[in-house]
Symmetry: C2
Subunit: 688 residues, 2 copies
Amino acid sequence: MAADQLSLLFAPRSLALVGVSSRPESLSGRLLGNLQRAGFPGKIFPINPKARDIGGLPCFPSLAAVGEVPDVSVIMVPREHALAAVEESLACGVRALVLITAGFREGGAEGAQLEAEIVRRVRQSGALMLGPNCMGLVNTDPQVRLDATFSPVPCRPGGVAFASHSGALGVAMFEQALEVGLGISLFVSLGNSSVVNAADALEYFAEDGRTRAVMLYLEAIEEPQRFLAAAQRVAAHKPVMVLKAGRSAAGQRAASSHTGALAAQDRAVDALLRQAGCVRADSLRELLDWARTAERVAPAAGARVAVLSNAGGPAIAACDALAAQGLELAHLAPATQQALRAFLPAEAAVGNPVDMLPSARPEDFRQALEVLAQDAGVDAVVVITVTPPLASPRQVAEALATAAVPKPYLPVFMTSPQFYQEALGIPDLPPVFRFPEEAVGALAAQRRAQERAVTIQAPKVAPFRPPTVPAREGILPPQEALALVAAAGIPVAPFAIARSPQELPEAADQVGFPLVLKAFGPTLVHKSELAAVVLNIRSREQLQQEAQQLLQRLAEQGCPVEGLLLQPFLTGGRELILGITRDPVVGPLVACGLGGVAVEVWQDVAFRPAPCSLEDAQAMLAELKGKALLGPFRGKPAVDTSAVAEAVVRLSALAAGVPELEECDLNPLLAFPQGVVAVDVRVRLQRR
Amino acid sequence: MAADQLSLLFAPRSLALVGVSSRPESLSGRLLGNLQRAGFPGKIFPINPKARDIGGLPCFPSLAAVGEVPDVSVIMVPREHALAAVEESLACGVRALVLITAGFREGGAEGAQLEAEIVRRVRQSGALMLGPNCMGLVNTDPQVRLDATFSPVPCRPGGVAFASHSGALGVAMFEQALEVGLGISLFVSLGNSSVVNAADALEYFAEDGRTRAVMLYLEAIEEPQRFLAAAQRVAAHKPVMVLKAGRSAAGQRAASSHTGALAAQDRAVDALLRQAGCVRADSLRELLDWARTAERVAPAAGARVAVLSNAGGPAIAACDALAAQGLELAHLAPATQQALRAFLPAEAAVGNPVDMLPSARPEDFRQALEVLAQDAGVDAVVVITVTPPLASPRQVAEALATAAVPKPYLPVFMTSPQFYQEALGIPDLPPVFRFPEEAVGALAAQRRAQERAVTIQAPKVAPFRPPTVPAREGILPPQEALALVAAAGIPVAPFAIARSPQELPEAADQVGFPLVLKAFGPTLVHKSELAAVVLNIRSREQLQQEAQQLLQRLAEQGCPVEGLLLQPFLTGGRELILGITRDPVVGPLVACGLGGVAVEVWQDVAFRPAPCSLEDAQAMLAELKGKALLGPFRGKPAVDTSAVAEAVVRLSALAAGVPELEECDLNPLLAFPQGVVAVDVRVRLQRR
């Protein structure tokens, strides 16, 4: 979407409200009311042939009657008039449409057809459109003051841009945001995302100066490649927090019937979000907590956290949460402990966590926070207050707010319900949490966002010229599969083919002893289960004998044999499985896991959208729970993880560059202290 | 602790307040204020030689001067007078003491010594004591009306009994409980738990008629065997929700310095809590949410949940949460869908989740809830409301509260902050949640508690007569280790010992070919790394030859050999590892995991305190992430999991019955489609 067109949509100077009702309590009447309440400084043109004025504004019978072209046309007519209203707007030269009306793709086949027709017209004319089935959009910029939604509650202005597939959820989050003090810069209800989708919203968010963090509620990922690029662009500078609904099969079914979206495998979505630099929340509360933290608190420079409290129990809970979230309990310098000791009572604990005891005064909180933030070994502080016997929590909060702290800190108050609304009015107080675990969770999410921002700024995918593939479909014979992978730059085990027992001696000479004998043929997929593999053959005689037995065995089982593959018998490598899969939505993915039962039983596999970079591949290896198996293990040296990562990158390039490559499994890829070798390769081609 | 003594403590008819200050703002003054505010109907005797009356009550110079023996003596004197005050109380015949004073074990060696002396006196006189370093206790029974704490906020009366090692955290939770409407039956601040500990509290909670659920915040587990028994007694009838702090190493260090408690391994604590029938919360919010649900909502009869909503997004989030928490999205009967269709608009979704659309009226919520609850395939309902455009959330809540619902349901309201306090006043409305994921989490916790209640009512550990063990220390030679395990009733592989190569033929005759040859000796622990094992020996000649090479190899490596062990070469079994470990706090545990790298790399091991029942052992196998390896796998039939479970039970009995058994590892235990066989057994004895 062109940037100027998106600006038209997000920061219009004039709006037509097509189909606005004269009843202020109707949805369209409310939208006008919200526009006026927010103080929209531009022109508003109500369009309704049955009214002379609405909401104190002169009303026009048609768009053409307005006499000028509004920046945006907000269409709120019944579904049966939607196409006509869209056409009228386009005919008048409007470049940005918001189609609030519902009952399209989400309502069945007829609606889907109508939606497709509308989209075709909009695209044809080069305009853009938000919706249909949406709630509108908000821009709280004091220059723009746009609330073109029918939300019953206003947005609190602030620094978080929010895009949501669900309009109702957007409103529900506004209400929760009001309570916890999260501020919104931009809100966009994506609805069916037929033209403007999350990628467009991200492109605008990236450039918006008031937006410091992004919150997404997604039920689908449209245009995944554009989404990836747009999200990376934002995430390099601003944290992007995502709740992707439809994690489970049940949720996926519910989400597809809600938006009519095609469901992607959750692991594909997860891989995409990760590569996009987003952090993924597991719940709506996390999404809110993370976003309000990112809005107001600078990210910590590292993972070392100090815990300051006037009560032992919650401080211990914070320590447990730090460990669970991958953060560290900072080691306090002796000077820090001395400085704390100087003003805290003798019974206070000045290690980390610092327990100032219930007698701590507001001034002690301020001073201790300043001392902790000065410690070079501390990157962030969590400050926990339970209702102090000798002061009010408000006094503690005010003292904290005046502290000179060059590092991020998050206050936790476990106190009376009234306090939390009061705290929203205290200037310079960071977002307040009620439970230590949630403050720690928000710090950790910010840290992950920071780490991913670094990753996506790292050097990207190297150019790759894909090898040519045979022009047919189905499973390739092993020699072609091995050759294809070798052509992509992944080392494969030497091999030779014998079409008959007579060709075995020559083939064996090419490969050398000891060797492995494998029969191949159309039905021989799981070779080991069919005993179609013989390991460790040490001589010509043994080879002839084993081959004969093998062919006889397979003949008895009725398995046709196309040929015999000979490879050197390699020992001492550790087994990995590399593969590609194609998600119907996200597209090609590369997978990497430990071999053997690890993949089957523990599902210990990492995924990334293809193509991926070397950094991505290294991060995939670091994600494997069983990664210890690649390091020094039972007296064997570590394997060459650079070579593994390189193989992952090349396989991902192959997946991205060869669309007809439907499956490509390297099982196993043997990893040695130096280098890797693909031993068995299975390739299936499908024309597209 | 005798039940009548605990009743004295929890439901006293008279109290002496030893050391109460005449300043109402002091901690002791506040405790008196709380007693009076709560309307304690019994007698209160302030004891303070410096005052004539305190808080409107006549004051006594000493306990002896009172002229009658109070049920409880609450001691609030400075630490240096604590021993004298305790002695005075005991001398006057007081049978229950509450020592509020701090600065004992938690404050260093001197305090620990003083505490030990006080405990000795209390025990000697057969009295009981709560504390020291505690906040007191509360009983909200209208007959008792006891608030003997210095909490700045009162408890909301209700059905949850709460024991906490941290007094400050207890108070912080009172405040959160007030906000979310959780009601307390009993609260006890355990402090240092020197005499009265969590097990005593649980014994009292089990019998208390007003207590419907139990909430524990623990920093340590004192007397684990008593805790186990007491918790099982409660958990069989009332859910027990536990937050055990010190999950991480950092948290453990912080917890030990807070209470001076010995740290147990978290996995040992986890195993203990599980066997005790408790459910373990990961955060303070979970603890509160689970407890307030258990207080007011009957547990569901099954795991099938219906989701009802007026907004699609949050309903999808609920579906995802159901899957993540091990609950199921119910299949709605056609009759249910028809009944919904009859009054909902055509665009509404009447599958599960049921999306009534934003237009839903309060009456629709009530009716839909009733219809869903009548479906025989639905065990519980989650009802999600986002601010409806055409009604207030309060109206929805009131409509729900009047619904005739024979099954549990939890309401989620995502609406304006003011609503939540209002909702507390609506009679018959279950606890309200703000986010769907948290309501689902509470349902799931209740379901787990219900499942565990069933388990702990199951038949218990069979009697077991432990075999005698050799009267020495250190690692047993393999024949003795195998014999010990066999004597406990666990099948072991046949074996024979050869002390010299000359004895090999006779030993081989006992075992038969093919066989396995293993050298043993003091330094031969990891036999496979030292190549001290030879597999699949098929003849006498091969045996002699391999034995010779083996002995030579070990001699070259400087490993003394005590003898050679011969066992049949067994194939086709799947490997497990069984073992015992002793936790310094929790005591003996039995462990069961899958063999090979599974244990090392994925740490896929389940633990239970020993002894355990057959049901426990089966639950352990069900916990293993790689349990698929025990079922039908790669064409092999399932293994005999009953025999595995039986071996776990017998090993656990051995661990419990033989205290000198420091280590006992069965690695591997081979599991076959019928039966199991321990192949390698390592036993280390230590006198105690």
